[in-house]
Amino acid sequence: MSSLADGEWHRLHPATPLLRGGIFVFAAIGFILANLRERVLDVVFGIPVGSADPLEEIYRRGSVGWALLAVAGALVVILIAFSLSWRAHTFRVNDEIVEVRSGIVFRSNRKARLDRIQGVNIERPLIPRLFGAAKLEVSVAGQDANVPLAYLGSARADELRRDILRLASGARRPAAESVEPAREPGEGPSEPGVTVGGFARDRVVEFLAPELDPDAAPPESVVRIPPARLFGSIVLSGFTVFLLVGVIALAVGGAIGSSGWLPIAIVPALIGSAGYFLSRLTRSLRFSIAGTPDGVRVGFGLLSTSNETLPPGRVHAIGISQPLLWRPFGWWQVRINKAGRSVSQGAAGEAGTTVLPVGTAADVARVLELILPGYTGEEQGAVIESGMHSRGGSDGFINAPRRAAWLRPFSWRRTGYTLSAGAVVLRRGIVSRELILVPLARLQSVRIDQGPVRRMLGLASARLHTVAGPVSASLAVVDAEEAVRLFEAVAAGAVSCATSDTSHRWNHPTGVFE
């Protein structure tokens, strides 16, 4: 089996048109079946049915033959159109670019430079997954700047990702076939399964297979989330509190006044929130994160799965947070800002930036080790520890002075920053604790502000600009002199770290492309 990343043009999985139009095909089949049911009842059991049904009408007029011919003609036209569009949709991967050509009437051609890759995502929505197909998406920085390859054979998608990342890393050739995982005999992903039984068995094996290839990831670095903890974390969220308050308010309102409208208000809300909980649960189930030679791999999803590899140096900011309700259990969440973003995730898009939905402090340390390598020393461990748990005071952070209590009456003790090992660490929040790490090599710019109120108090606010994402790296109160010191240190550090940073060509000996 040759590699897909050999610089030649390749086509997508032959079933692509069917899978892309999956929902419509199923709807059409459903419609036909619903109509045929009455037909079948009539023929088999002799039960007469009403004549409002169009199929019935056709039958009555004796034009079954013409109708079948028309349907067959339409099918043939559709099949030809699909296969033409499939033939026109080709892609290639060489040492420098990923390129996709598509379209017959309206042609399009998209290239992405390999050294600009921000991540490679393999998505397997439920139906394509049942057919052993996967969607591979190469994301580069920018809105809607992704290169999607939908669909590829499941195993080939994994292989192609490995090759793309290896090429992007600065190594010039795809590695030899030695990494080939041991497969059951008889399976060639290009023509899956010889018999129907073999096909089904392959699919079942693939469906139940762990999200991470155990060969590709060192198993000890994987964080596992027990389902009970995941369930607890979702139940103990701010949304639940909001929901409870709403329900109590409604109940009180109902008890006092007339309650004719009450069910109308509550039932849709309940259905909606049940859907919300369920989608969060299925999205986060089977979550896994692991380090591979070519980056951090984050996977999640129970039925529709998604599995993204972030090459080193693609994380622009890291936010570790703990809502109040999670504190008794010692649970934390880790989210990141990254430049590439997958458009196709829809409502679940948030999950693409969550690298740890819920975990203990030990899990957080393990995840940090993966996404911020080089931040693992004794001193850094202490910084993270006090950043997460300390209540303030002299704990290695440069904290806001007491007069900041005018602006942040509860959290001023914990509001502070420190710089270590090429990253700025910001800490804030007492009710909902937050710790933000910004690698200086990824920082875009830095800003300090001072309005009249802060000037009277001798304070300032600071903000580190990174690419857009869920983590906002800002400090609301800092001592004015410290703010200037922070500004100077960060500005100088950003320059020196950016020049010495080579992680965007992580396997290349000099880190320089060409």
């Binding site: 920085a141 710019s445 309005g451 009249p452 108090l457 304070l459 600009h465 500005a491 020049t499 940073d501």
Partner: protein
Amino acid sequence: MPDQSGRLDLAAGAGWQRVSPRYVVVEIVGTIVGGLLACAAAAALWLMFEFQWALYAGAGVAVIALVTLILEPRRVRSIGYQLRQDDLLFRRGIMFQRFVAVPYGRMQLVDITRGPVARWLGLADLKLVTAAATTGVAIPGLTEEDAESLRDRLVDLAESRRAGL
């Protein structure tokens, strides 16, 4: 040199480049036009629908616009930038002070825009865009030659210090 008032002051206080004094005119025209439009809207609301609050709101806008007009020259004088060894430093504001540092290697593009009044005065605005949407550094009121030479200079600097994203 941090003084007793707690003002922000960077150590590199000397080398600030100022923008053209003519930029005051642009700001004044903008403030007058904005103020007049707001006052006209308030007056219309008051005359047509007899909303009493519109009158107070209009008066408030007029007062704010007047104060802004008086402070305008000082505000324009507070705008400054500095080309340091490896980054560009930008400052503006008296009441609301702001300092931003943008490393040259982080600039994605440099934009020159000219409004109608600024064009009449021969001025242009220079905008720096990084991968972070929030950076938002715009140096207003440069003479057109300055803007263009600064743009070329910045593009050169950015090119020589390019460093991924």
